[in-house]
């Protein structure tokens, strides 16, 4: 059995390729400190560090003597570590950006309404590279000279110049104060553009998180500080335009394209970069789910909608609005009704589980359809005593074959765990399952952003569409576990089963009251 929505095929393939790396990172860092789970906010945090460490340096940098002032900064005890942090944080930010892109691909978060975020993300990355390259040139050592000359070689590939741009660095006299003034202006002004792009990038998500948790910020901030103090980036010899640069230190994060220019010349290098950018920019059109998202957008059954606004509050993408209900005067129905904007809906199904009367959700995945599916699943084989129903999110553990044929467990892959209606849990317990375990992704790694959070609040707190008080909470278990650690999820599920067997010696009798939303109601 399955909830229908799945990750794109390419995402599943990439997951398999990157599984060893993800497993290793998960094992080494654990869930809380795994930097890959919060790559987006870590990138922003690191860029914040870059800005904070860069501002004091700005006052000591001299456009008239760029290398000498940088050397003075590098030798000054009070500023050297700031310069190192500035450099390493910008490198780490690029690394975080790269991993953020990979995570988006892994989660299939590229197509449909996410297209805008994807394209703006590509622009952000390109801008970040430009800012980084400008920053590296500002140092004006041999490495900067090589980078500057290679940049000019690269843009020479554009058929728009009537004279070779490399002439800029032909003559030592040509590179003067005004050149470095222009560079420092760009290095300060372009990050402002970056800020606006970040706001645009996150504009389609509700409650966008722009900062990591304090413990994570402290941990990685301290690690960077230690690196900056004990391994400061070396300053090479001063640039000399009448000397060929020879061997240099390459900053792979910002100068990754230099070997391409060296190997294939300006036109080849530019063609390779254009191809790469084009390939990445076109991802939303070819890296997408098999079913178009617009046809999978949630819809609202206005007859069932009570206007409670819960789906409107829970939607992680601001795709639901409360609008005035068109109704006859004197009607006792709510004045407002939920409406889904299909252009914004990513079909995560989180609204499904937020609606007690089951009046909203993507086609085929509404609460009523979930109940029907659960009913068919239960009826097919019947429950054995002591069996635990495991519902796992397809975006995480649910795709793994590790669940097959495990005694005492019956497994069903679902959509995002935040889309599982609490009535399904109650139904499964009533149908004969000894316990129900829902395996979600770690909260910071949820493909639909807020699934585990809402699930937790609905099961253990009283967030609307909550699990009814009559359901014995001892028989329900929520587990946040990444897809790469399915073995742990299996062990936890088995332990839960054993625990239930030990705890619930007496068969638990549920009250005779039926679940609030019966399938019979729908039939009537």
């Amino acid at each position: 059995m399955s909830w229908k929505a799945r990750k794109p095929r390419l995402s599943r393939l990439l997951s398999r390729v990157l599984e060893p790396l993800e497993k290793a990172l998960h094992r080494l860092f654990g869930e809380r400190y795994n930097p890959t789970y919060q790559s987006g906010v870590l990138a922003l945090y690191l860029l914040g560090l870059v800005v904070v460490s860069g501002l004091p340096l700005l006052f000591f940098y001299r456009v008239g003597s760029p290398y000498e002032s940088t050397r003075w900064i590098a030798q000054s005890a009070g500023l050297a570590w700031l310069r190192s942090i500035h450099r390493y944080a910008s490198d780490a930010a690029m690394l975080a950006v790269i991993w953020h892109v990979v995570r988006m691909l892994l989660g299939g978060r590229t197509a449909g309404p996410r297209r805008r975020a994807w394209i703006s993300g590509i622009l952000l990355t390109a801008l970040l590279v430009v800012i980084g390259v400008v920053g590296l040139i500002l140092v004006w050592d041999v490495q900067a000279q090589h980078l500057a000359q290679s940049s000019m070689r690269l843009i020479e590939g554009l058929p728009i110049f009537s004279e070779s741009p490399r002439r800029v660095f032909a003559d030592p006299k040509a590179v003067g104060e005004s050149f470095f003034f222009m560079l420092i202006f760009l290095h300060v002004a372009l990050p402002l553009v970056l800020v606006f792009l970040v706001l645009f990038h996150t504009s389609r998500v509700a409650r966008a998180r722009l900062w990591p948790e304090a413990y994570l910020a402290r941990y990685y901030g301290a690690a960077l500080l230690l690196l900056a103090v004990f391994w400061p980036p070396a300053l090479a010899q001063p640039a000399d335009l009448l000397q060929l640069p020879g061997p240099v230190r390459l900053d792979v994060f910002y100068a990754f394209w230099m070997p391409l220019v060296e190997l294939w010349g300006p036109s080849g290098g530019l063609a390779a970069l254009t191809l790469l950018t084009g390939l990445l920019a076109s991802v939303p059109w070819w890296w997408k789910p098999e079913v178009e998202l617009t046809s999978q957008a949630s819809f609202v059954d206005e007859d069932l909608c009570t206007g409670c606004t819960q789906c409107f509050q829970d939607c992680p993408y601001d795709a639901i609005a409360m609008v005035e209900r068109k109704q006859d005067p004197g009607s006792r129905r709510s004045l407002v009704v939920a409406r889904v904007d299909s252009d914004l809906c990513v079909s995560c199904g989180i609204c499904t589980a937020s609606c007690a009367p089951m009046g909203v959700g993507p086609p085929g995945r509404t609460g009523r359809e979930q109940l029907r599916e659960a009913q068919e699943w239960s009826a097919r084989a019947g429950w054995q005593p002591g069996e635990v129903a495991v519902l796992a999110c397809r975006w995480g553990c649910g795709e793994s074959p590790g669940w097959d044929q495990i005694p005492g467990l019956r497994f069903m892959a679902t959509g995002c765990s935040g889309s599982v209606h609490t009535s399904v849990i109650e139904f499964l317990l009533r149908a004969g399952a000894t316990g129900v375990m829902i395996v979600s992704c770690p909260e910071r790694d949820c493909s639909h952003r807020e699934g585990p959070k809402w699930l937790q609040l609905r099961v253990y707190h009283v967030r609307e569409a909550e699990l009814q008080a009559r359901v014995d909470r001892r028989r329900v278990r929520l587990l946040a576990c990444p897809g790469v650690d399915v073995g742990r999820a299996v062990r936890e599920a088995q332990a839960f089963g054993d625990e239930l067997k030990a705890c619930l010696v007496e068969p638990v009798e549920l009250p005779t009251e039926e679940p609030r939303c019966k399938l019979e109601e729908e039939a009537s």
């Binding site: 080494l28 070779s164 003559d171 391994w231 070396a234 009448l242 000397q243 060929l244 792979v252 070997p259």
Partner: protein, 166 residues
């Protein structure tokens, strides 16, 4: 926790390593670079007008001529061999932008003789061009060095290397 800290240390080490990756090799050749930008010789060329036009219909003197930049011929002789021979035309849509030259020649370390000629070419309807003085020098090239030859606005050769005999 120890595992995490070790992993972080390794990660930070990788970060530092990748941001300072040794790359490139020591240069085994020298470079001769020709680079200049000049307005060159400008000439006034009369526009073609019908001689039968009455005086009041002819273009005024301020509009009767157009300013053109002469085409040039760049010739580079390296060790008595022709390394380059090409026309240099004023760029731009109306061919009125300054002439630019940027050429680089990779040479082996050692003694080389360089001769550069940048000669204006005749332009139809204008006086013959002035003859330009060629540049010639004996260079003792060292690996990794750049030998820059340039031309200023007045047509004087400028060079950036020690041993030269222009």
């Amino acid at each position: 926790m120890i595992r995490r800290m070790l992993a972080t240390m390794v990660g930070m080490g990788l970060l530092a390593g990748l941001s300072n990756l040794p790359w490139g090799r020591a240069e085994r050749s020298a470079l001769i670079r020709l680079s200049w930008r000049t307005t060159g010789q400008q000439v006034k060329v009369a526009k073609v007008q019908d001689p039968n036009l009455p005086t009041h219909m002819r273009l005024p003197e301020s509009q009767a001529f157009e300013l053109k930049i002469r085409p040039y011929r760049l010739s580079v002789q390296l060790d008595q061999h022709t390394a380059l021979e090409r026309a240099v035309l004023a760029p731009g849509f109306r061919h009125d932008r300054p002439l630019t030259v940027f050429q680089e020649f990779s040479v082996t370390p050692g003694d080389h003789r360089l001769e550069v000629t940048f000669q204006a070419q005749p332009l139809e309807g204008s006086a013959p061009p002035l003859t330009a003085r060629p540049f010639a020098a004996e260079l003792a090239c060292q690996a990794g060095q750049v030998y820059l030859v340039s031309l200023d606005e007045s047509g004087q050769w400028i060079y950036y290397f020690e041993r030269a005999n222009p």
